[in-house]
Structures are given as structure tokens and as C-alpha cells.
């Protein structure tokens, strides 16, 4: 009975395969219940219309437009990103999952889900945002790159905080309270970068923000992977 036969040794490859299986399971479950995707998109649409309604005919300056976009993305994320872990605890499936998969695979699978969730939000909200707030994005390539990097950053923080909040009893606003301070570096660089991109800056001009967003996400992801086991194991 060598340990390998029992699959006790987890190679990186098996971890990635298992995280993909978990990602598909969650994606499938989400497709069936559509709870998280509804929460996130509805929130975004509501807040966007509220903003454009209150602004009315006034043409906003690029810095305000950029800040407005990221405020909408951040708070929409706060309404949907925690669901992936909270649902497992509430429906008592988290213990079943604990028994079948290693923590790192679970975190990566759930992280992937949250990234895709945020991207699907942006696919819908960004065209609406450009139309409703009549934003002329000159530097489109830098704009999209920063949106992607910023979203991955927010999804990383959101996933690890969701894992923590799922273990706490009183959830409510705790998720946003925990996530906001850690998201400030992402939000600040994303807003600054988006602003320069809207005004026509290319990737070169927004390099400082892109570097910060990238390095921040890498740091958060690695520490989350190392720390997740301490959250997941009771």
C-alpha cells in the first residue's frame, strides 16, 4: 500500500486539475442558481443608472469618470464575491468539500470563479458605462489592461476575505469592511491608470500603475494561497 497509490502525494499538476474541477462545479452550480451573478450585475446596473441619472446632462471630467467606474465595480464586487464561500457554509457542503479536495485547489478554483464573475460583470457594465456617462476612451488598450489587472486584484482580495467571512457568524457588512482597506492600493492605482488611459495615455504612460497592480496581485495571491489552509481547516 504505497502512499502514491492513495493519491496522498499532491503534485502541482493534480492541484491545478482539481481546482479546475472545483471551478467547473461552482460555475455549473452558479449557472443553475445564478444567485451571485444576479446580485453583482443588478447592483452594478442600479448604481450606474443612479450615477448617470444624478449627473444628468453634465459631462464628467475623466478623473471623476474613472473614479465612478471603480466605485461601481468595487461595490458590485462586494455584493457578489463573498457568495462563493458563504454558500458552501450555509448549505453545509463545505465539510463535504473539506473531505474531498486539498485547500490550495479549493482556493484556486474559487478564485478563478470570482475572476470570471468580475469579468462577466465588466463585459456588461463597461459598454453601458461608456454609453451612459459618454466617456471617450482614447487609450483603449491601456484602459482594458488596467480593467483586467484591477479586477483580478479585487477578485483575489475578495476571494480570501470571502473565505474568512464564511467562517464568521455575523456576516452582513463584514465582507466589505474587511476587503476595503486591503483594496485601497488596487483602487488607487486602477483609478489613476484608468484616468490616464481615458485621456489617451498608452501602456507606457500608465506603467507605474500597471506595475503596482501586477505586483500587488502577485503578492496577495501568493500570501492567500499560503494562508488559505489556516482559514479552511477548522
Amino acid at each position: 500500500m504505497n502512499p502514491r497509490k492513495y493519491g496522498l502525494e499532491e503534485s502541482v499538476w493534480t492541484l491545478l486539475v482539481k481546482s479546475n474541477i472545483i471551478f467547473q462545479k461552482d460555475f455549473h452550480l452558479e449557472f443553475r442558481t445564478r444567485y451571485a451573478i444576479n446580485a453583482i450585475i443588478l447592483f452594478a446596473v442600479i448604481s450606474l443608472t443612479a450615477v448617470s441619472f444624478s449627473v444628468g446632462p453634465i459631462q464628467l471630467e475623466p478623473p471623476i469618470q474613472s473614479a465612478m467606474l471603480w466605485v461601481i465595480i468595487f461595490f458590485s464586487a462586494m455584493s457578489g464575491l463573498s457568495h462563493i464561500f458563504v454558500r458552501e457554509e450555509e448549505q453545509q457542503t463545505s465539510d463535504t468539500l473539506r473531505l474531498v479536495a486539498p485547500p490550495t485547489a479549493i482556493f484556486l478554483g474559487k478564485w478563478g470563479f470570482n475572476v470570471v464573475l468580475l469579468f462577466s460583470l465588466e463585459i456588461i457594465i463597461i459598454p453601458l458605462y461608456i454609453a451612459l456617462l459618454n466617456v471617450e476612451v482614447q487609450g483603449m488598450s491601456a484602459f482594458l489592461l488596467i480593467i483586467v489587472l484591477g479586477s483580478v486584484g479585487l477578485a483575489s482580495i475578495g476571494t480570501i476575505m470571502a473565505a474568512i467571512v464564511a467562517q464568521a457568524s455575523t456576516r452582513g457588512a463584514l465582507f466589505a469592511v474587511l476587503s476595503f482597506p486591503l483594496s485601497i492600493p488596487v483602487l488607487r492605482s486602477a483609478i489613476q491608470g484608468t484616468w490616464t488611459a481615458i485621456q489617451g495615455g498608452g501602456v507606457a504612460q500608465c506603467l507605474a500603475d500597471i506595475q503596482l497592480l501586477f505586483s500587488f496581485t502577485v503578492v496577495i495571491l501568493t500570501s492567500s494561497i499560503l494562508l488559505f489552509e489556516f482559514i479552511w481547516r477548522k
Binding site: M1, P3, L8, K25, L29, Q92, D95, K234
Partner: protein
């Protein structure tokens, strides 16, 4: 050959001592019955042995071919059936089985899965959502899921809860098979289920 060893296990939630000084060893082919009144910590002990929960004191160790492992490291060997373990109700029975097979790194053996479901009286319900299952059927489904990977160590918390006569019969037969050459741990208060444990641990009497 697998040996589970519990050394002076103790569990405490904030100031409430659940149990302490729990000691036992179990080898393949042996079985253990965990008894004690409701809320005395039977479930807590089951969760600690299966690695879902870490003990406040003492240690639970798995010895496999001379090497020692913590419970969390040997999760592929463990199968657990318990009221607090739910399956994915918004997926169909088959989707659940496929997921649990794949995540355990097994190839999806259609015929075997179908036989397992039939064995537990769930034939023909493969494509129904689990949320349409009655509590008895869900309990049987939990056995099917726990047996996909032929676990070396099977833990069952209240084996026949929600089960009718016929369901209980199937479960007793399963428990018999399991304790022939593998490890079986049963947490129960039912007298005829306690007979499944050659060894006994009473959680309440451990003050």
C-alpha cells in the same frame, strides 16, 4: 495495513470541555462504536478522527506502512456519512457523483456508479436534482458518495437516521462488509447498531 491511534484526545469550545482523555487504536478489520447521550460530543469526536476538526489536546495519528500521517493528509482514505454533511442539492444525483469521482482523481466508472445507486434503492433517480430527494433518499445518496472511492476508513454518524426498514438493512450489510478487512467507526445510540463496534468509546464518561 492501516492503524489509527488516538492519544489522550481532548476537545474544548471556549470554556466548555466536550471530552478529554480519549484513547483508542484501530487496525484494518477492526471497528469502533462511539456512544454517549445526545450532544455529548460523539459528532465532535467523529469530526476530529476524520480530520474535519483539530483537537484541543492530544493527537490523532494514522499509521500507514510504518509512516505516520495527520488525518488531513490521508483524506483520500476516508469516507464520512453524517447529518452535517450535505451534497449539492442544486445538482442532479449523477452530477454529484461525477464531481466527487473526478475530484477524488478517479475515472467516472458509469456502470459501477449505477450499480451503487441501485444497491441503495436509488435506481432510475440519477438525473433528478437532489433537492427533489426525500431525507431518506438523501441519506442513501450520502452512502453512495462515501463509497465511490472504496474508503479504507469509513466513519458513520447515526447510520440509519431517516432510513426505512429496507434502507437500514442495506446499511447494516454495508457496515458488516466494511469491518471485515477495513476500518469502521460508528457513532450511535441505537442498541443494535452498537454491536457493529467490537471496541467501544463512551464520550460522556470521560470526565
Amino acid at each position: 495495513m492501516i492503524r489509527i491511534e488516538a492519544r489522550d484526545l481532548q476537545k474544548q469550545f471556549n470554556d466548555r470541555l466536550i471530552f478529554s482523555h480519549i484513547n483508542f487504536t484501530l487496525q484494518s478489520g477492526e471497528s469502533l462504536a462511539i456512544t454517549g447521550p445526545n450532544g455529548s460530543g460523539k459528532t465532535t469526536l467523529v469530526r476530529i478522527v476524520s480530520g474535519l476538526l483539530s483537537p484541543s489536546g492530544g493527537a490523532i495519528v494514522y499509521h500507514i506502512d510504518g509512516r505516520t500521517y495527520r488525518p488531513v493528509e490521508v483524506y483520500p482514505l476516508i469516507g464520512l456519512v453524517g447529518p452535517y454533511l450535505q451534497l449539492y442539492l442544486n445538482l442532479t444525483a449523477w452530477e454529484n457523483l461525477v464531481f466527487f469521482s473526478k475530484i477524488r482523481g478517479l475515472t467516472v466508472d458509469k456502470s459501477r456508479l449505477r450499480r451503487l445507486m441501485a444497491h441503495f434503492g436509488l435506481a432510475g433517480r440519477e438525473l433528478d436534482l437532489l433537492k427533489t430527494f426525500s431525507s431518506g433518499m438523501l441519506q442513501r445518496m450520502k452512502y453512495v458518495v462515501a463509497l465511490i472511492h472504496q474508503p479504507e476508513v469509513l466513519l458513520v454518524d447515526e447510520p440509519t437516521s431517516n432510513l426505512d426498514e429496507e434502507g437500514s438493512e442495506t446499511v447494516y450489510q454495508l457496515l458488516d462488509e466494511q469491518q471485515q478487512n477495513k476500518i469502521l467507526i460508528v457513532a450511535t445510540n441505537e442498541p443494535e447498531e452498537i454491536r457493529f463496534g467490537r471496541k467501544r468509546v463512551d464520550v460522556a464518561g470521560q470526565e
